[in-house]
Amino acid sequence: MHRISSVPGHPPQLEEAMKALTLAAGISCVALALSSGAATAETPVLTVLTYDSFISEWGPGPAVEKAFEASCGCDLRFVAAGDGAALLARLQLEGVASETDVVLGLDTGLTAAAAATGLFAPHGQPAATALPVAYDDPLFLPYDWGWFAFVYDKARLPAPPTSFADLAASGVKIVIQDPRSSTPGLGLLLWVKAAHGDKAGEVWAGLADNIVTVTPGWSEAYGLFLEGEADMVLSYTTSPAYHRLAEGDDSKDWAPFAEGHYLQVEVSAKLAATDQPALADAFLAFTQSAEFQALIPETNWMYPAGDVPLPEGFETARPATSLLMTADEAAAARSAALAEWQAALAQ
C-alpha cells in the first residue's frame, strides 16, 4: 500500500529543475540589483563620457582616475559609449538632460558637427603644444593625436607601396574600415580627399581591387590583418610601437606615403549643461598635465598632445607631411567624399 506514497506529484528531475531555475532567477536579480548599485552622493561626481578602450584596465582610464581623484576631492566616473564614433551620437541622444560633464575622445572629423549641436562650452585652456600642426579651438581641447597609416608585416611585405598610386598599381591587398561606422574609416576618406582633392574618386577606383574588405570598425580590420587576410591594414603610425613595446615583436611597420599622412586629433570638451563646471575645468586642465600626458603613449598608443618625453622605441620615423582639414572643411567635404567612395567601390 505504500507504493503510491513513493509516487511524487511529478517527475523529480522536473521539480529539481524548476527549483534550480527559480533559484537562478533569484540570484540573477540580486546580482543585477547589486551591480546596478545606487550612487553615493556625498562627494561631487564628475562624469566623463569616453570610448570603451580608454576606460579598460589596460587603457589610460584607471591611472587617470586615480591621479585626478587624488587632488580633486571628487569622484571621477567614466562612462563608456562604444567607440569614438558613438560619442557624439550618444551626447545628442542625451541632449541637455545628459549627466555628462566632460566628453573625451571626439575626433577632428566630427568636431564641426559637434560644435553645431551647441552642447559644448569653451574650455578656456591654452592650446596644446606638441601637435605637428597648429590647432587651437575654443571648444575642443586635444589630448592626443596620431597619423593614419597603413601597417604591414615586414617579413610578408618587404617592399610596401609608397603612395596611394603605388598601392593602386600594386597587387597589395588591404583591409579598411567603413567611413559610415568608424572614425579611422572616415579618416581615410578625408586623407584621400585632402591629398587628392578632385581626383579622390579616381584614387578610390584604382584602390577598389586592392581592398579585400571593409569592416565596421578598427578592431575587426586589425584582427583580419593579424590573421593574414590582408597585407596591410589602415591603422596608425603608432600601431607598430604597440607590438614592439608591449609584445616585444618588431615585425610590424607602417608605410610612409608620399602624399603625407592624415592626422587624427582626439579632443575633449566641456558640456555647457554641466553641473560641475569648476571640476570639469580642472579635469580639462589635468588632461594637459605632464602626469596625464605621460600615460598616453603606452596606454592609448597615441602621441601625447603635451611636451612629455616619448618612451624608448615608441617612434622610429615620422611622416614628412601632415594633412588635416579644418573642422569646417572636413564637414563640407564629408558627404561628397562618401558618395565618391561608395560609387568607386560599388562594383
Binding site: 511529478h10 532567477a25 543585477l32 550612487a39 562604444g82 541622444l93 578598427w218 586589425y222 598608443w301 560599388a346
Partner: protein, 507 residues
C-alpha cells in the same frame, strides 16, 4: 490565460513599437532616402539566399540525425548547435581560418595548383549566414521529425513503405508544417545582419538595412531616418512571419504513446547518404569552431581579471533573460495553440527582425528621463535579450504546444487540470524537449549579445562580449581570442545544460 497571453503579446509588440516610436518622436518624423532602396534590395537578396540554403542543407542533416542511432549522436547534436551561439565576429574569424585568403582551404588549393577561392562577396555572406544558422534550422527541423509519433513510422513499416513513401506520407507533411517557420526565422535573422554582411560582403555595395541604421544613428544622427529604416526592417520581417504562418500546414499526426521504437533507417545508399550529410555538416560546423578554440587557447592565460566579473554578469543576465523569455513564449504558444487570436503570432515574431540598435536607442530615450541609463544597463539588457529570444522560443514551442492541445487538451480540461497544476503536471513535462532547447538558445543568445549593453554600459556593467570588444579595440587580440573561448564555452555549457534537461524526455 487568454488575458495574460494578450498582455504578454501586447508587451512584446510594445517593446518593438514604442522604442521605434520614441526614436521617431524625438526626430519629429520618419524618413527614408533614395539609397535605402539599394540597401533593402541587398538585404532581401542575402537574407533570402541565406535562408534557402540553410534550410535546404538542414533537411538531410536533420533526417540523418532523426533516423540514425550512433555513438556520440547526442554530443554531436549539441556541438553542432554551437555556431549559432558564437558572437558574430568570433564566428567570422573561425570561418576565415578555413576559407580566408590564408585559410586552410586556399592553402590546399594553392598546393594543388588550383586557383584560390575568395570568401569576400555575396558567397561569403551566405556562407557565414549558413554557418551561423544551419544549426538552428537543423534543430527546428529535427524537432519536427521527432514530433512524428513512432507509431506512425511503425505503421509505415507495417505497410511496407519504401523510403520514398515514408517521405511522401510522413516526412513531407511534417516538412510542409515545419519548413516555413524555419525559413522565416532564418530569413528574419539574416535581415538584421550587420557585421557579417559588411566584413564578408567586401565593400559598400553589401550595405544592409542594419548598417544604414547604424550610419543614421552614429554618423548622421538622423534619428528619423533610423526609425524609418527600422520600421521597414520590422515590416519585412513581420511579413515573412505572416507568410510563414499562412504557408505552414498542420500535419496532424495525432498522438503517440511515447513509445520508443527502434527505428531502423533505410539501408543501402540511404545509409551512405546520411553518413555523408552528417560528416559534411559536422566538418563544416565544427572545423571553424576548432579554429576558434586553437586560436584562443594560448590567449586564455593573457585574459585580464575583468573577464571574470564580466562572465558572472553575463551568466546572470542570461539566466534572467531565460526566465522572462520562457515565461512569455510559453504563455503565447499555449494561447495560440488553444486557438487564441492570430495577432499573438505576429507579436511573438516581430522582435526577430527588429534593429537592436534602434531598440536600444529608443529604450535609452525612454529610460533617460527617469534614471541614468547606466544604472539600468543590465535590466534593460535582460528585457531586450528576452524580446530578441522570444521569437525562437515561441517558434520552437508552438508545434509541440499545438500537438499537446490537440491530443490532451480535452483530457486535461475534463479533469479540471488548470493553472499551476496543469503547467506542472502536463505542460512542462510534455513540452520539456522544446522548452529545454529554447531555454538553452535563449541563454546562449543572451550570453553572446552585444547589441544593447554597448549603448548603456559604464565601467561597472560590462558583460563578457563587451569586454571582448574592448580587448579587441586595444590591440589585445590574444586576450580577446582567449576570452572568446571562455564566452563560447560558457554559452555552450548553459545551452547544453538546458538542452540536456529537455532531452531527458527523449529516450
Amino acid at each position: 490565460m487568454a488575458s495574460s497571453a494578450g498582455a504578454v503579446g501586447a508587451a512584446a509588440l510594445l517593446l518593438v513599437a514604442v522604442p521605434i516610436g520614441a526614436v521617431a518622436l524625438r526626430a519629429g518624423g520618419l524618413s527614408l532616402s533614395p539609397a535605402d532602396g539599394a540597401a533593402l534590395r541587398f538585404t532581401l537578396l542575402q537574407a533570402a539566399l541565406s535562408a534557402s540554403v540553410s534550410v535546404a542543407l538542414a533537411v538531410p542533416v536533420a533526417r540523418a540525425l532523426a533516423r540514425r542511432r550512433f555513438a556520440g549522436r547526442r554530443a554531436l547534436i549539441t556541438l553542432m548547435g554551437a555556431p549559432f551561439l558564437l558572437p558574430v565576429i568570433v564566428a567570422v574569424m573561425g570561418l576565415l581560418a578555413l576559407f580566408g585568403r590564408s585559410g586552410v582551404v586556399n592553402a590546399v588549393l594553392t598546393a594543388l595548383g588550383l586557383p584560390a577561392l575568395s570568401i569576400y562577396g555575396l558567397q561569403g555572406v551566405v556562407l557565414a549566414h549558413v554557418f551561423l544558422n544551419l544549426p538552428l534550422a537543423t534543430r527546428m527541423i529535427l524537432q519536427g521529425w521527432q514530433a512524428i509519433p513512432a507509431e506512425r513510422f511503425r505503421l509505415g513499416a507495417a505497410l511496407g513503405f519504401s523510403p520514398r513513401e515514408v517521405a511522401r506520407h510522413l516526412e513531407l507533411p511534417m516538412l510542409r508544417e515545419v519548413l516555413p517557420g524555419a525559413l522565416a526565422t532564418v530569413f528574419a535573422l539574416c535581415l538584421t545582419s550587420f557585421a557579417v554582411a559588411l566584413i564578408l560582403g567586401g565593400g559598400p555595395w553589401a550595405t544592409t538595412l542594419e548598417l544604414a541604421i547604424y550610419q543614421a544613428v552614429r554618423f548622421d544622427f538622423d534619428l528619423g531616418h533610423a526609425a524609418g529604416l527600422a520600421l521597414v526592417q520590422a515590416l519585412v520581417g513581420g511579413s515573412a512571419a505572416l507568410a510563414a504562418w499562412a504557408a505552414a500546414r498542420a500535419a496532424g499526426f495525432g498522438a503517440g504513446l511515447d513509445r520508443t521504437l527502434p527505428m531502423a533507417g533505410p539501408g543501402g545508399w540511404h545509409r551512405g547518404a546520411d553518413a555523408a550529410a552528417l560528416t559534411v555538416a559536422a566538418v563544416f560546423l565544427l572545423a571553424p569552431m576548432a579554429a576558434v578554440l586553437l586560436r584562443g587557447l594560448p590567449g586564455l592565460a593573457e585574459m585580464p581579471g575583468a573577464v571574470w566579473p564580466a562572465l558572472v554578469r553575463s551568466v546572470a543576465v542570461a539566466l534572467a533573460s531565460v526566465v522572462v523569455t520562457m515565461a512569455a513564449a510559453l504563455v503565447l504558444a499555449q494561447a495560440v495553440a488553444r486557438g487564441g487570436p492570430r495577432w499573438l503570432d505576429l507579436a511573438a515574431a516581430l522582435p526577430l527582425a527588429t534593429s537592436g540598435l534602434v531598440l536600444g536607442t529608443g529604450l535609452f530615450l525612454l529610460v533617460q528621463p527617469f534614471a541614468p541609463p547606466m544604472r539600468l544597463a543590465l535590466p534593460v539588457t535582460v528585457a531586450v535579450n528576452a524580446a530578441l529570444s522570444l521569437p525562437f522560443a515561441y517558434r520552437l514551442i508552438l508545434p509541440d504546444a499545438r500537438a499537446l492541445e490537440a491530443d490532451y487538451g480535452r483530457l486535461a480540461a475534463s479533469l479540471s487540470l488548470t493553472g499551476a497544476a496543469r503547467l506542472r503536471l502536463v505542460t512542462l513535462p510534455r513540452l520539456r524537449r522544446p522548452l529545454g532547447f529554447a531555454a538553452g538558445l535563449a541563454a546562449a543568445l543572451s550570453m553572446g549579445d552585444l547589441g544593447v549593453i554597448a549603448l548603456f554600459a559604464g565601467e561597472a556593467e560590462a558583460t563578457l562580449p563587451l569586454v571582448i570588444q574592448r580587448l579587441q579595440g586595444a590591440y589585445r587580440t590574444e586576450a580577446a581570442a582567449g576570452a572568446s573561448v571562455l564566452l563560447v564555452a560558457a554559452a555552450l555549457a548553459l545551452f547544453a545544460a538546458f538542452d540536456r534537461w529537455g532531452r531527458h524526455a527523449e529516450a
